[in-house]
Amino acid sequence: MEAGEEIEDGEPSTPTYKAHHHPPHLPPPMRSSGVSLVLSVADLVLRFVAIGGTAGSAIAMATTSETLPFAAPFVRFRAEYSDLPTLMFFVVASSVVCAYLVLSLPASVVHVVRPGARSSRAILAFLDTVMLALLTASASAAAAIVYLAHRGSARANWLGICQQFTSFCQRITASLVGSFAAAVVLVALVFLSALSLARRA
């Protein structure tokens, strides 16, 4: 049995038109074939991996706080993530993506159990793309700042603060790696959703 068919513009409805909107109860569960089951389970597993990546990077960045034991005349002796607004944006965006992924876990479980739920898959795919855009933007902005922290900029007379704050720098670099890995996993998630949607069409 096919899922509900769309009506093209201008085409008259035929007597074999199947109702797209069912009564309030769920449609009868379809037998999940092997491939669709694998896709849905892979989707669930990848969501867990992405949750780990984003949560890890948000926590690693948010718990940075290094105080130098000595006080130099021109350099501040305490570094936190909130000193740099871009890193603040990175922490907030990572947390938002992590919260979204946690909230989308039940939906993903539903997709494993009932493979015929098409519109919820489509909504999940769309939201995954939005979160991917947010994560990419925040990770690239933070990467630009981390690069500056490592190298500084000779032209703008910006000193690379990593010379003094080594453990702070190591932390923010490592959290960036986790964030980019989570972005790649989100790309794979979007691809899996598209694949499952295309299989039903």
């Binding site: 769309e6 093209e8 513009d9 201008g10 021109f74 350099v75 501040r76 570094a79 000193d83 740099l84 607004p85 871009t86 793309t129 991917l132 855009a133 990419t136 933007a137 925040s138 990770a139 690239s140 902005a141 933070a142 990467a143 630009a144 700042i145 690069y147 500056l148 922290a149 900029s153 000779a154 032209r155 703008a156 007379n157 910006w158 000193l159 603060i161 790309v187």
Partner: protein, 224 residues
């Protein structure tokens, strides 16, 4: 009267089935493209070629035409951002003891990445224009639509990354950072700052148009 003969006068288009005033726009193009555009419809047609009333693919053709227009619209800001970043080079006339007095885009690797990404996206948009035109003529090629969708998404993601990295640097240049002892260089380099800020804004506009293109392509694939 058949629609095959070119008319010498332009007549307002009426919706009369059976009486066919000739088309009023692009008649030689219509005569040339009519065999390709309307394979098996009634011989009496009115309307602009490719968008005739009895055409089954009219909805898809409209979407493909919108896709074509949006591609041209996205090409402008991308090229402008690339050029404006590439020509940003300001040398100050004041000479102080501690400050460098020249700023260029390749002093910041983020701007270099931004320039390259904008150039790639502008080039891609130009190269994808013929494919989009093919989709207007033959809307039933789904493979081409899928290819354009995937490439649009890749370009949008890359451009988002480049634009956000450049935006981080521009924000730092405008506001500086007190904690890290980073001075806001926009105080000295006005022209450089204005140029790069403007190009970041244009690049984000291109990202928005590209996202709209992706949604459009997804909708038109779904309409099949």
């Amino acid at each position: 009267m058949s629609s095959g003969e070119p008319a010498a006068v332009s007549i307002p288009i009426h919706d009369h089935h059976g009486k066919a005033p000739a088309t009023s726009s692009a008649v030689p193009a219509a005569a040339a493209a009519a065999p390709a555009a309307a394979p098996a419809v009634a011989p009496r047609k009115v309307g602009i070629p490719f968008f005739r009333r009895g055409d089954h693919h009219r909805g898809s053709r409209c979407l493909a035409f919108l896709d074509f227009i949006l591609r041209i619209a996205a090409f402008g800001p991308a090229l402008a951002a690339a050029i404006s970043t590439g020509t940003s080079d300001e040398t100050l006339s004041v000479f102080t003891e501690f400050y460098q007095f020249r700023a260029r885009f390749d002093d910041f690797p983020a701007f270099l990445f931004f320039l390259v990404a904008n150039a790639i996206v502008a080039g891609y948009l130009v190269l994808s224009l013929p494919f989009s035109a093919v989709l207007v003529i033959r809307p039933q090629t789904i493979g081409l639509r899928l290819l354009l969708l995937v490439c649009d998404m890749i370009m949008a993601a890359m451009l988002t990354a480049a634009a956000s990295a450049a935006a981080a640097i521009v924000d730092l240049a405008h506001n500086g950072n007190l904690r890290a002892n980073w001075v806001a260089i926009c105080m000295q380099f006005h022209g450089f700052c204005q140029r790069t800020s403007g190009s970041v804004v244009a690049s984000f506009l291109t990202v928005v148009i590209l996202m709209f293109l992706v949604i459009l392509a997804a909708c038109s694939i779904r309409k099949r």
